[in-house]
Symmetry: C2
Subunit: 115 residues, 2 copies
């Protein structure tokens, strides 16, 4: 590792030490948000009921709530088609896609320690 990279790394360490976790928890905390985001980020756009099935045993109400919150925070895009029966498609925004690295870190860590 070069000297400049080393300095950059140290700087990132210092910065990360002060990162406000409560703010992050507001965005991606709770029982379902990471699950929903993982699906939309790695599997792409999904319709409501498809997402519902992939989430496991989440209820309609809860899925709606979580999706609304994620949408409000700019993590999920909601596209409604004017059709009958109705069709609504959910997908990850760029902001959500930028969490890909974090998900991979989590996965690598999980595999290393708990698999």
């Amino acid at each position: 590792m070069s000297k400049i990279d080393d300095i950059t790394h140290q700087e990132r360490l210092v910065q990360a030490a002060g990162c406000p976790m409560p703010n992050i928890a507001k965005l991606i905390g709770g029982k379902w948000k990471l699950i929903i985001l993982q699906i939309l980020i790695f599997q792409g756009m999904k319709r409501f009921n498809a997402l519902r099935r992939l989430c496991g045993d989440i209820t309609q109400t809860m899925l709606t709530n979580q999706l609304r919150a994620l949408e409000k925070d700019g993590l999920v895009k909601r596209k409604v088609y004017a059709e009958v029966p109705p069709r609504v498609e959910y997908s990850a925004t760029q902001k959500a896609l930028d969490l890909t690295d974090m998900f991979m870190c989590m996965h690598d860590w999980y595999v290393k320690h708990d698999k």
Copy 2:
């Protein structure tokens, strides 16, 4: 990026897509665990009351609970000194230190999107 690196990256993406988030949430979810871990990882060993102050307004009971849970999951080391008054020091285990990358990802993401 070389071809082999590219394949590795693709493979990591596929793997991460199936990473069980509920299991991870069990380990580092909830209101306090990420905060506690962040302190111990980036600031090193802390005594109980020092940790308490750094956490903000966490109660003794809750801090004890969270530390016990983290210790049980191998994320926190607890060292008791046979002194009067008692002294207990908490520190991050290697398993917790391996979360450093994840914290930096979170921080970079937070800075990019919400700072």
